[in-house]
Amino acid sequence: MTIRLNTESLTESFMATPEPDSQPVISVEGVSKKFCRDLRRSLFYGVRDIAADLTGGRPHSDRLRPQEFWALKDISFQLHRGQAVGLVGSNGAGKSTLLRIISGLIKPDTGRVRVRGRLAPLIALGAGFNPILTGRENIYANMSILGLTTQQIKQRFHEVVEFAEIEDAIDAPVQTYSSGMAARLGFACAIYTEPNILLIDEVLAVGDARFKAKCYRRLYELRQRGVAFILVNHNSQAILNICDQAIYLTRGALVTQGEVNAVVDHYERDLFLNSIERSENRMVFPPKAAAESNGIDFRDLFFRDGDGQLTQTLSTGEPVSLCATCEAHDSYSGVALDLRIAKVGGIESAGYVLSLRGQNDDTFFHLSPGLAEIRLQLPYLGLVPGVYSAQIRLRKDAVYTFDVVESFRFTVTSRQNVNKCQFYQPHSWALVPVVTPVSARQPLP
């Protein structure tokens, strides 16, 4: 377990810590940081801080000056070897600031940060890339910025090129690369610095789906080898997949920290108004005023069984319908539902296991003002047992989004044994008596 809550009981911490050497690789103790939104004043404070530091220290660095605010306030947590913690929170919550303090780029205003081991920031994809130099030259420059010696870079050079899949373009200037190629190169450079701690800030969005899956696999390998992670991502699915712990920040303050599912739940509850009701395999949303709405809103997401009855248990292989109760504020035609389902946890979770889009099936609905239920009927549920997270969108003509639910989480169980495979295939067995043996030479009818 990555984080030991201050309030958590000792037994739980002991049970949760697999490593006997319990020295944390990162320990953050009461860290605060203040910023100023007014540029001129901010620069002036900067000069004043420098002057104060040069004359022996800043008194009252724990007090706000005019127009300052706390970008981080009294944050504490610990990170142990081989553990991954996700930072969640809306924009401006202080996630990146926290990462920058941990990497030693900026000084905390109060508190203290201890870091043991080599730390690689994946905040800095392609730091120091010069567009008119070749990929080869840039690998050397970039990796030495990340702290490797020439000898070490030489050893890893081929792996980096191979991982980034740019063998053909390695001697071409980076400005001729596509954005995906440059991003892949940056990611490969960073990931091959062999750090003890990785700070990842919103960078897993590079490249195509296949490369993304490869990045996740590599991160998974690193974690098996004991690398500790701090991951910042707006997408809670990515956090759920990679991290076992999470920290939720709001406006610089720590709201909660602990087991990842609980923290992400808390975050999402706050994010989508406070009144969303989440129960087992169901989400209920409060009504929105017409002014706040984009036209149609989700009000309820749930499942119905084969008889059309509301159900909270999903079983592999059974008929089921995903139902979305929607409230329209006007008449709309061309409304379609998009659904993407990803499995939560584990290495195979890098992509979506299922993606169903109304527009691909040419299924568009006409909604009149009021409530309506859109049903997605599945004759057999093909998902194997596990926890899934669905992103559900209500769209019009594939361009306009009425409403979106980022993460509708549900659990699938099974009455049969389908554990060792990736999907459920509806099937039946039969034994058929053969009257005349089929000869191989005989042409098929």
């Binding site: 690789v25 910023f35 901010s42 620069l43 404070y45 900067g46 000069v47 801080d49 420098i50 530091d53 040069l54 022996g56 220290g57 800043r58 660095s61 970008a71 600031t97 920058r100 303090i101 941990i102 990497s103 030693g104 780029l105 900026i106 000084k107 905390p108 205003d109 109060t110 508190g111 203290r112 940060v113 201890r114 870091v115 043991r116 081991g117 080599r118 730390l119 920031p121 905040i123 800095a124 730091a127 120091g128 010069n130 008119i132 130099l133 030259e137 840039n138 050397y140 420059a141 030495s144 910025i145 990340l146 702290g147 010696t149 020439t150 003890n196």
Partner: protein
């Protein structure tokens, strides 16, 4: 045992021994990175220029041609110079340019490296060292011009020429001192880089580059207060006549430069985290 780092709000000046130790450690650690950055910058510098390395020669030659023509036309008069005037101007310009490179280099380099500084915690000394290496490289190219010049004008060379690099290094270090002093502020306020060109133009006017050292009047007084003058003049004299006219001021300025460089380096280290925090948030 993996390395351990501790970040606190306290001023590093309260732990002077730790501060000096980390400065030494980072200086050693930044050698290889500095070399990489220098290779990167030098290769990029000439790759997108059609005239390539000729850009190292063009400014001093242009200066020399301009001033020689002006002098021949009696637009202005200068005193007697130890060596032929075109050679005098060209050599001095090369030295002056090297000083300007050393002074403006760190400011520009730190500004260009802003995105890097904001994201990766690498030894910041590497940027300065890389720039110093680049200054040395560019001077090396100018040296080809100077050797050609000396041969062409049959400038007599004294044995003291082997000492000239020492004086040149002091000149570069003085420039670096100015550069490191301005770099952190230069990132925060654009005024620094905007005014730097103007200041350098005015400073050139106060430095015996196109004229020999004046001895009289208020102007002579001003020039004698200019710390660049003794270093530049001594470098030239060591390379040519071998007769030093400003030996005392040379050593005074050199001593102050070395002491000042250590102090500005400490200031630079302390200032950089605050600068990084203000430029990107």
């Amino acid at each position: 045992m993996p390395p351990e780092f501790v970040y606190t709000p306290d001023s590093l000046l309260r732990r002077p021994r730790f501060l000096l130790w980390t400065m030494w450690r980072d200086l050693l650690a930044s050698r290889e990175l500095a070399w990489r950055l220098m290779v990167r910058d030098i290769s990029a510098q000439y790759r997108q220029a059609a005239l390539g390395i000729a850009w190292a020669f063009i400014p001093p030659v242009a200066m020399a041609v301009g001033f020689t023509l002006a002098k021949d036309a009696n637009v202005f008069t200068v005193g007697e110079t130890d060596i032929p005037y075109p050679a005098f101007v060209m050599f001095n310009t090369a030295l002056w340019q090297t000083f300007v490179d050393a002074a403006t280099g760190p400011v520009q380099a730190v500004i260009i490296a802003k995105p890097m500084l904001a994201r990766v915690n690498f030894p910041r000394e590497a940027i300065i060292l890389a720039k110093l290496g680049e200054v040395g490289f560019n001077f090396g190219i100018k040296l080809i011009l100077i050797v050609g010049l000396f041969l062409f004008f049959r400038v007599p060379v004294s044995w003291t020429v082997i000492l000239a690099p020492v004086a040149l290094i002091h000149l570069v270090l003085l420039g670096t001192l100015v550069g490191i002093l301005l770099a952190p502020i230069g990132v925060l306020y654009q005024d620094v880089s905007k005014s730097l060109n103007m200041i350098m133009g005015f400073w050139l006017f106060l430095t015996p580059v196109i004229y020999p050292v004046p001895t009289e009047g208020a102007f002579g007084m001003l020039v004698s207060l200019n710390p660049v003058a003794p270093l530049l003049v001594t470098t030239r004299e060591l390379a040519t006549t071998g007769v030093l006219t400003e030996a005392v001021s040379f050593w005074v300025v050199s001593g102050l430069t070395l002491l000042g460089l250590l102090l500005t380096w400490i200031g630079f280290r302390i200032a950089m985290p605050y600068v990084v925090e203000r430029v990107t948030s």
